[in-house]
Amino acid sequence: MIVRIWIGFVIVFFAYSLLIYFQADDGNLEGKPDAVVLDGWHTWQSKNCQACHQLYGLGGYMGPDLTNIASAPGKGQVYMDVFIRKGTAKMPDFHLNDSEISHLVRFLVWVDKSGKSRVPGGAVNWSGSYSLDH
C-alpha cells in the first residue's frame, strides 16, 4: 500500500515538473535574451551580484531589489551605469570594462520587461491569494 502511494507521489512530481517547465511561464513578455543580455547575465552571476541584490525579492538584502530599476522614476540606464562604474561605500567597484557594464545594464533592462516585483495591494482577493496582470 505504502509503496503504491509512494510511486503515485513520484508520478505526480514528474507530471507537475513537466507542467511547470512548459506552462509556468505566463507570457514571456521580455522575449528571448540575445547574446548581449546573456553576456550581462553571465556578468551578474560571475560577480555574485545576487549575494547583495534581489531580483523579484530573491537574493541578498544588503542592496536594493533591482528587478525594475531600469524603469523606476528618476533611475534608469544612466543611473545604473554610474553606480556600477563607481561603486559606493557599501558596494565595491568591480572594475568592469565598458562592454561588461553595458551588457549588465541590458540584462537588467531585459529583466525589467518580465514584470513587476512589487505586488499591488489591489491585486489581493477574498481567498488571500492574488492574480498578477501583465
Binding site: I20, W41, W44, Y61, S129
Partner: protein, 436 residues
C-alpha cells in the same frame, strides 16, 4: 567506527564551525559594510557561510544515515567501496568550492554560488552515496520502518532536485526569465524538503532507539505526517515566487498544499504539554534533549512558514528579514539541533561526565537563548522593512533600511552568542571523537 566515517564526522563538524564563523563575519559585514567592503566584502563572505551551512546539513545528515543504515538495510560488499568514494570525493569537491570563493570565482546562483562545473563531482558523489545506501534495495526489517522511507525519499529527491537546479545550463531554460526563476526556486524549495526528510527520518530513528518504542515508526498518524511532508516537498515551494508573474495556478497550488501543514501544526500544539514533560525528563540525555528542543523550533518556524505561505501575508514578508529568520530558525533550530543530537547519539556523549558534559550543556544554553534573540530580532527587522516598503511605500532603499539596520545590529550581537554556544558543542564533540 571506520576511519573513513570518523573523518567524515570530523569534516561535518568542521563545516559547522566554518558556517558559524562566516555567519558572524557576514552579519557584521552587513551592518558595517564600510569596514569590510575592501578585504572581506559581504558578497564574498555570504557564499562561504551559505555553502558551509548547506553542506554541513547534507554532510551531517548523510553521516548519520551512513552509520545507522548498517542496522536497517542489507549488507553488500560493494557498499563500503562506494561509501569511501563518496566521502573522499565529497570532501575534495567542497574544498574546491571554498578554494573558488577565496579567489572570488563564483557561479552566482542563490544557495549554489560556486561555478556550476563543480556540480559534476557533487553529482558523482551523490550517485556513489546512493549506491552505498540502496545497493541492494532490501531491508531485513519488515514492515520497513518509516525512517527508512524518509531517508530513501530524501536521498532520491535530493538527486532529482540537484539535477533540476542545474537545468539552467541548457539554453532553452534561459529563454524566459520567469521560467528560469520558477524552475530555480522549484528546485531550491523541493531540495530543502528533501534534506528535511533525511533529517526528520534521523530524528525519528533516535527517538525510537532511545525510547525503545518501535511502534512510533509504524503508526498511522506518523505515516499521515510523512505523506503531508512529501506532498509539501513536491508542491509547496511556490511561496518563494508568489510575486513572480508565472501562471496563477503555480501560486494557488502551492497556497492550497502548504495549508495542509496546519494539520501538523495543530497536532504539535495538542501535544505541547506532553512535549514539555518529555523535555524535562530528557534534560539528562544530551542527544534526546537536542531532538526534543528541535520540536519547539519546528512549531515556531512552522507557524511562520504557514503565515508566509498565505499570498496576502507574503506580500509584506517577501524580500525582508522574516525570510532570513525562517531560514535561520529552520537550519539552526531544527536541522542543526537534530544533527547535533544524532552525532551525540552516535558518539555516545551521554556516558561522559564532568568537563565535556558541562561544556555541551553550557553551549546548549548559550546557543538556545542567543538563537531566540537572533530569531526575534530578524522577525522585527523584517516586519519593519515590510511595513516601510509595502505600507508606507517609501521609494528610497537607504531610507527604508535606516531604522532596520539598528535592529539587525542586535541580531548580529546575538549571532555571536549562537556561534559561541554551538562552537562549544562542536569543540566538545571533537574532543569525544579524538578519545575514541
Amino acid at each position: 567506527m571506520s576511519p573513513f566515517l570518523k573523518l567524515y564526522f570530523r569534516f561535518a563538524l568542521l563545516l559547522l564551525l566554518v558556517t558559524l564563523v562566516f555567519g558572524v563575519l557576514a552579519a557584521w559585514a552587513f551592518v558595517m559594510p564600510e569596514l569590510f567592503s575592501r578585504y572581506f566584502p559581504f558578497y564574498q563572505l555570504r557564499p562561504f557561510h551559505v555553502s558551509a551551512a548547506i553542506f554541513w546539513i547534507i554532510t551531517g545528515a548523510s553521516a548519520g544515515i551512513l552509520y545507522y543504515k548498517r542496522e536497517v538495510l542489507s549488507h553488500h560488499p560493494l557498499k563500503t567501496k562506494y561509501k569511501q568514494v563518496f566521502i573522499i570525493l565529497w570532501i575534495l569537491s567542497i574544498l574546491a568550492i571554498f578554494f573558488c570563493y577565496s579567489f572570488r570565482i563564483f557561479g552566482g546562483r542563490e544557495y549554489w554560488e560556486f561555478p556550476s562545473v563543480l556540480s559534476i563531482p557533487l553529482l558523482i558523489c551523490w550517485l556513489a552515496f546512493m549506491a552505498s545506501y540502496f545497493l541492494p534495495v532490501r531491508s531485513p526489517i519488515h514492515p520497513i520502518p518509516q525512517y527508512v522511507w524518509m531517508w530513501s525519499t530524501g536521498i532520491f529527491f535530493f538527486l532529482l532536485t540537484f539535477i533540476e537546479q542545474n537545468l539552467w545550463n541548457i539554453p532553452w531554460f534561459r529563454e524566459s526569465y520567469v521560467r528560469e526563476l520558477t524552475i530555480q526556486w522549484k528546485a531550491n524549495g523541493a531540495m530543502v524538503g528533501a534534506w528535511n526528510q533525511m533529517i526528520y527520518g534521523t530524528s525519528l530513528y533516535i527517538m525510537v532507539k532511545i525510547s525503545g518504542d518501535e511502534s512510533m515508526a509504524h503508526s498511522r498518524k506518523s505515516y499521515m505526517f510523512y505523506f503531508i511532508g512529501f506532498a509539501n516537498l513536491m508542491l509547496n515551494w511556490g511561496h518563494h515566487i508568489y510575486n513572480v508573474p508565472s501562471a496563477g495556478w503555480v501560486r494557488n497550488v502551492s497556497y492550497i498544499v502548504s495549508m495542509t501543514e496546519w494539520v501538523v501544526f495543530i497536532s504539535i500544539m495538542r501535544d505541547f504539554r506532553k512535549r514539555v514533560d518529555e523535555y524535562k525528563k530528557a534534560l539528562n540525555f544530551v542527544s534526546y534533549r537536542f531532538v526534543v528542543a528541535s520540536e519547539f523550533w519546528v512549531m515556531a518556524n512552522l507557524l511562520l512558514a504557514l503565515l508566509m505561505s498565505i499570498p496576502a501575508v507574503n506580500r509584506y514578508t517577501h524580500g525582508t528579514h522574516i525570510t532570513v529568520a525562517h531560514a535561520m530558525g529552520t537550519t539552526i533550530g531544527i536541522n542543526t539541533m537534530i544533527l547535533l543530537g544524532s552525532l551525540g547519539y552516535i558518539l555516545n556523549v551521554d556516558k561522559y561526565t564532568g568537563g565535556v558534559r558541562n561544556l555541551i550543556n553550557k553551549g546548549y544554553n548559550i546557543g538556545q537563548y542567543s538563537l531566540v534573540v537572533f530569531w526575534v530580532a530578524l522577525i522585527v527587522a523584517g516586519l519593519l522593512k515590510g511595513y516601510r516598503t509595502a505600507v508606507l511605500d517609501i521609494p528610497d532603499f537607504q531610507t527604508i533600511m535606516q531604522p532596520v539596520n539598528s535592529i539587525l545590529t542586535v541580531a548580529a550581537v546575538a549571532g555571536i552568542g549562537v556561534a559561541i554556544g554551538f562552537g562549544l558543542i562542536v569543540f566538545s564533540y571533537f574532543k569525544v571523537l579524538n578519545d575514541r
